[in-house]
Symmetry: C2
Subunit: 393 residues, 2 copies
Amino acid sequence: MTTILDRDTFGAFTRHTHAALPPSGTGSLTGLTFGAKDLYDIAGAHTGFGSPDWLGSHGPADVTAVAVQRLMDAGAEMVGRTHTDEMAWSLLGENAHYGTPVNVNAPGRVPGGSSSGSAAAVAGGLVDFALGSDTGGSVRLPASFCGVLGMRPSHGRVSLAGACALAPSFDTAGWFAREADVLERVGRVLLADDSPSRPVGRVLLAEDAFAWAGDAVTAALAEAVARVESLFGAAERVALAPQGLAGWIDDFRVLQSAEAWEAHGDWVTRVKPQFGPGVKERFAFAATLEPALVTKARAHRMTSAAHVHSLLGGDAVIVLPTTPGIAPMRGLPQDTLNAFRGQCIAMLAAAGMAGCPQITLPMGRIDGCPLGLSVIGAPGNDTQLLALAGALA
Amino acid sequence: MTTILDRDTFGAFTRHTHAALPPSGTGSLTGLTFGAKDLYDIAGAHTGFGSPDWLGSHGPADVTAVAVQRLMDAGAEMVGRTHTDEMAWSLLGENAHYGTPVNVNAPGRVPGGSSSGSAAAVAGGLVDFALGSDTGGSVRLPASFCGVLGMRPSHGRVSLAGACALAPSFDTAGWFAREADVLERVGRVLLADDSPSRPVGRVLLAEDAFAWAGDAVTAALAEAVARVESLFGAAERVALAPQGLAGWIDDFRVLQSAEAWEAHGDWVTRVKPQFGPGVKERFAFAATLEPALVTKARAHRMTSAAHVHSLLGGDAVIVLPTTPGIAPMRGLPQDTLNAFRGQCIAMLAAAGMAGCPQITLPMGRIDGCPLGLSVIGAPGNDTQLLALAGALA
C-alpha cells in the first residue's frame, strides 16, 4: 500500500509520526485530502510537535483533535501529518531535528513556519488543503512565502482541543489551500456557525505596515491593493500602531514567552530537552522573564487591541502586506534570521494582539517568488474574509 | 501592642492569617493605612485565599506580592489582611468558613465580594484604602454595595505577581477608598506609568445596562448621570451588548470556569478541598466543562470586546449602573443568590471581556442603602477615570 510519503518529494510530511485516516463521514469536504500539522493529536498515535524529546516523553493520544475530527466527519481524508518547527516556536520552517520542507514556489528558499509542512504540501499540490496553527504568524507567513492562501481565524473561533499549546491567548487553528473555494469550504466546517459575518464596510489601508515593509513590497502589492479597492471601495489610510509597529516586537515576545513557559516550563525543567538553535534561546529567555515586563506587555496588548478594534468598528477590513518580503534563502545564520523574524512579528502581531481573523492571498511577486496580501477583519467576521477571497479569485 | 484586630468591629480583617507591615519607604502614600485582600502574598506568611484547605496545603510565601510592596515602598502602612470569598469565586461576601464582614452602610445586608473585607474595612473607616482584586466584579460590586469608590484597572496594568489567580485573562488588582483623592494617589503608585490617558471625549450611556438594572436603579442614579453630563457633555445612548447582556452570563461563566480549572484543577483533584456552597458547585462545573463550550465562549468574548472597544474609540467613556440593585440581605438561600449573581455578572462583564478600566462612584441610594454609578474607559485610560472621579467629587 502506498502512502503520501511515497509521493512526498518536498519533505512536507513526517515519517517518524506518520498517520493517515480515512473520512469518518461524507459531507462538504468529500473527495478532498489534507495534511495536519504534527501538533494535532490522533487517537492511538504519538504527536511529534517537532521535538524528538517531546515525542520521547509523551504517550500516545487518547482522542483525535477536534479540528481534525471535524474535517474527517465532513468527508475529508487525512493523508499524513505535516512538519512543524520545533514546539511551533519559529517562523522560518527550518527544524534542526527534521530538516526543512521544500518551498516549490521559491527555489532555494525556506517555506516559512511554524506550519512549514502544511504550506509546502499545499504549494506542492500533494493535498487539497492543510491544517496548521497560527500563534504569531505560523499560517500567514508560510502561506505568503509559499504562494498559497492562508487563514488565521478569530481567536477562539476554531477548537484547539487536542492540539499542543504554544501561547494560548494567541494560538489559533488555521488552514491553507490553493483555491479560495476550498479555503472557504474548510472554513465552513471548522468555524463555529453561530456568528454571522457582516459584509465588508470600509476598506482601510495600514500605511504604517506598508512603510515598514518598504518600497519593493509596496510596489509588488500595488496591483493587488487596486483590485481590492475596485471591488470594495477606495481605501482610507490608517495606522495600525500609532505608537509604532516596532513596539509590538517586544510586547509579543514577552507575552508569547510567558505563556509558553506557563504551558511547557514544567516539562522543560523536568525533561531538559535538547532544543535546536533559536528555540533554545527563546525558552531560556522565557524561563527568566521578569513579571513586571509581562504586566507591562499585557497592558500594551489591551491598548493595541482596543485601537485595532476601534479602527475596524464592526465591518471594516484592514489591508496590509503579510510579510516584509519574500522567503529568505535556506540556511542563513541564526542572527540574520532572528532579525528578520522580528521584522515579521511587527507586521503579523496586530491580528494576534486583537484576536482578529486575517487572510493572506498570494497576489504579489518579487524576483519571481510569492508574496501575500493580507486582509484583517473584526473578530467574528471570518466568513467575511473568506467571501472576500472568493470575490477576488 | 494593639493591632487593627482590636478595632475591627466589622469582621473585615482575617485573624487566622493576620499580618501587618510598616512602610518600607516614604512617598506619596506616607501617612496612609491599608488592608490587603488575603490572596496577596506576604513574605514569610501563609496566604489564606478564603479557604482552610488552601491555607493547610501551602507553605509560607517567599516574596511579598508586587502590588503590596509598591504601596509600602510609597509610604503606606499595611495594617492587616482582609477577608475574601473562598478562592475569590463569589460576588456576595459570605464565606462559609470565615463568616461575612459587616456592611456598615447597609445594615443587615451583605458587603459584596469577593473583596468583602477590603470594602467593609474602607466603608467602616478602619483604613484609608484597601487592595482587592476584580475578576468578574469583585471590587466594583462590593464598592457599590458598601458605598465607597472602587477601581478596576485595565487588564494587565497592575502587577498580580504574588497574588492567587482565579481566571488570569480576567483577573485584575483593584482598590477601594472613601475619597477620590486617595483613590487617585493609590492609582498613581500601582499603575505602570508609561501609558498616558486621554481626556474624556464623548460620554456614552449604556442604555441596555440601565434597562437591565430596571427603573428603581435608573431613577436612583438619574441625578448622578446628570452631574456627569454637566461636566463632560450630553451622553449618547449606546448598547453595550447588541446581542443582549444575558448572553454574557454564560460566556463569562464558561471562560472563568475553564481558567479557574486550569489554575487550580490539579490542586482540587489532589487535595479534595471541602468547599462551601456555591464555590463547590462552580468547581464541579469547571471540572467537567466541554472544550467546545470554551471555544465558543472565547469567540464570543472577542466579538464582545471588539464592540466595546469600537464604542470607546480611544477617548469615550461609558456610563452604567455598577450593580442591578443595592446589597441583598445576609443569609439568603443559595438559589436566590445564584440568580442575583447572574444578574450582576451580565452588567459587570463588559470591562472584563474587553480588558477595560472601570470606576464605581457611590452616587446613588435606594432605601437608604448605597448604589454605585460606573464609568468604563478604553484600555489604558485608567488615570482618565481617576481624574473624572476627582472632578465629580
